[in-house]
């Protein structure tokens, strides 16, 4: 029994269809774990169950000794689990800085009426949030773009901003859903470097879904493979690459090889 993070026999059914079956995993603090599998294998469904966007049909999500199964997403985030989305979901009409500042909102202490009356105690908090948000952007090399509209950034920068925004929510566990999707090899390499950097600097735990095999194999210390909702393999990158079932289900497809 580990009391950092554990998924215990998660099952998700939609009508008669089983999207994920008996998914279990234990993640230790500071680990970098990958989740791979063909399209429609149920990977994002696992993330949605962890973050409260879906309530599992059965099974438990245990986080720091607590059962958080079925908690609403915002409460899960406040507990220290943040995520990014496969299809980028920025607040496109807000500035880069504002996007990051949204993630600080759950840390705000002063009540809404203090904000409405513009009391000094609230203003101080607003100043603190802005300062910290700018520091985050600097760290991810987005500082010079702070006042741009998020929707006007080039694709690679938008991916970066998604990660910055998730980090700003102060997670202990960061879930990345296909962070390298749509990136060119150069950008993918930089991303891998960035993920390792923030993990080391912030002593984060990272759980990520990715299609790019080179990215996952190079970055993750441990990998889990899903196919049709069922876990078919688990192990180190080298073990996974040699696993016959994985080769059959996934790596056998030439476009992913």
């Amino acid at each position: 029994m580990n009391d950092f993070f554990q998924l215990d026999n998660l099952v998700m059914q939609f009508g008669g269809l089983t999207a994920v079956k008996d998914f279990s995993i234990i993640i230790e603090p500071g680990e970098l774990v990958g989740l791979i599998g063909p399209n429609g294998a149920g990977k994002t469904t696992v993330f949605n169950m962890i973050t409260g966007f879906l309530t599992p049909t059965s099974g438990r999500v245990l986080w720091q000794g607590r059962d958080i199964t079925g908690w609403p997403p915002h409460a899960v985030t406040a507990q220290g689990i943040a995520r990014t989305f496969q299809n980028i979901r920025l607040f496109t009409d807000m500035t880069v800085l504002e996007n990051v500042m949204v993630s600080f909102h759950h840390t705000i202490r002063s009540r809404f009426w203090k904000a409405m009356l513009g009391l000094p105690s609230h203003k101080r908090e607003e100043k603190r949030i802005e300062k910290e948000a700018r520091a985050f952007l600097e760290e991810l090399h987005l500082g010079h773009l702070a006042d741009e509209k998020a929707g006007s950034l080039p694709y690679g920068q938008q991916r970066r901003l998604e990660i910055a925004r998730a980090l700003a929510a102060r997670p202990k566990l960061l879930l990345l859903d296909e962070p390298a999707a749509g990136m060119n090899p150069q950008e993918t390499m930089e991303l891998a470097k960035l993920v390792r950097e923030i993990r080391d600097r912030r002593r984060l735990t990272v759980f990520l879904i990715e299609h790019d095999m080179k990215f996952v194999m190079g970055l993750c210390e441990r990998i889990k493979v899903l196919d049709y909702g069922i876990t078919i393999a688990e192990g180190s990158p080298s073990e996974i690459q040699r696993h016959p079932d994985v080769i059959k289900a996934y790596l056998g497809e030439p476009k992913h090889a």
Partner: protein
């Protein structure tokens, strides 16, 4: 002089000018001018608070008329003297303790706001379980239910007869005082972290949740604040026109507010202010199309309903061809004004 001192001075100057203008009109203005100015202020209050929900949170709430009605009735019932109430309620007497209470106008306005907020809270649970078109219909339905209740609950509202002969307490100072307060408070709210959370919900509710924003809490906040100011404005309206009845604040009123915030730009407080002022003035000016016109040699008969046709067409044209309205989502500010002036002088 740093910019924040400059901006504060400019704001004070603007308020002083407004006060001077109001003073002049209160003293020397015609009844017609004063009515338009009062309407302007009340429409500004209503539009800015309606825009908080529809423009900044991005949901389509169609029931502000319900909160205006509740505010108007509450406030009116509280300022009428017990004797007046006894005279008015001829079919069924007004229930105790409302029948004996009489409070000052200011207290009645706040009570109107609180009553509206209370009802907003009651319906918030079914309302925010749904989104989009469903939410629109539920809030619209609430407006209808309030109208039905106003007609039916005679011992509370005097039924279809309504309340007549209210004291015209609403002066320019009251209406504009409330308008300025509303604009200031709502501007501070939308520029705060709470406002950012609301905008995040508007942009992408799923992402907002993932960033730790509780949509229900923030939509509720916007909804309640909006209902409060709508209720206060309802009290002002009641004591401006001095007669209220269940058919006074129908979906027509909501439709007018919708036009104002769409034309002003959904999600812009300054846009809502500009459009509300234009609407209050234009609505009166356009009365000419509905009254007969004598051109000397021929009299063109007035066309009743023409104003609403024009308003509907304006709404359609804006939504189809100029969706951003006057201001889009941007705001007027001293900084922008001075930047623009500087560019002007340079050029």
């Amino acid at each position: 002089m740093d910019t924040s001192t400059r901006n504060a001075l400019c704001t004070i100057l603007l308020l002083a000018v407004l006060a001077a203008v109001l003073y002049v009109f209160q003293k020397h203005g015609t009844e017609y001018q004063i009515r338009i100015l009062n309407n302007m202020a009340i429409f500004i209050t209503l539009a800015v608070s309606y825009n908080l929900v529809n423009g900044f949170c991005g949901i389509l709430h169609l029931g502000p008329n319900a909160f205006i009605t509740i505010g108007a009735y509450t406030s009116a019932l509280l300022t009428m003297s017990p004797a007046e109430k006894q005279l008015s309620f001829i079919i069924e007497p007004l229930i105790w303790p409302l029948s004996v209470i009489q409070v000052p106008f200011a207290v009645s306005l706040i009570a109107g706001g609180i009553a509206a907020t209370f009802f907003a809270f009651l319906i918030s649970f079914p309302v925010f379980r749904v989104r989009g078109d469903y939410l629109a219909i539920v809030t619209l339905g609430f407006g209808e239910v309030v109208r039905v209740l106003c007609n039916a609950m005679q011992s509370l509202t005097n039924g279809p007869l309504g309340l007549k002969g209210l004291t015209p307490y609403t002066t320019l100072w009251w209406s504009w005082g409330v308008a300025v307060f509303t604009v200031v408070v709502i501007t501070k709210l939308v520029n705060s972290s709470y406002g950012r959370a609301m905008k995040a919900i508007r942009e992408d509710e799923t992402a907002a949740k993932a960033m730790g924003v509780d949509p229900f809490k923030h939509l509720l906040l916007a909804f309640l604040v909006s209902a409060f100011f709508s209720g206060v404005a309802g009290g002002l309206l009641a004591h401006l026109i001095t007669t209220i009845s269940p058919t006074l604040f129908t979906f027509f009123l909501t439709f007018n507010l919708l036009i104002i915030i769409v034309v002003g730009g959904l999600g812009s407080t300054s846009g809502a202010v500009i459009a509300a002022a234009l609407f209050a003035w234009g609505g009166e000016a356009l009365r000419v199309v509905e009254s007969p016109m004598n051109l000397g040699f021929i009299t063109i008969p007035g066309i009743p309903g023409m104003r609403m046709v024009l308003f509907s067409i304006i709404l359609m044209v804006v939504i189809l061809f100029a969706r951003r309205g006057i201001m889009g989502r941007s705001e007027l500010s001293w900084d922008r004004l001075f930047t623009a002036l500087r560019l002007q002088t340079k050029a």
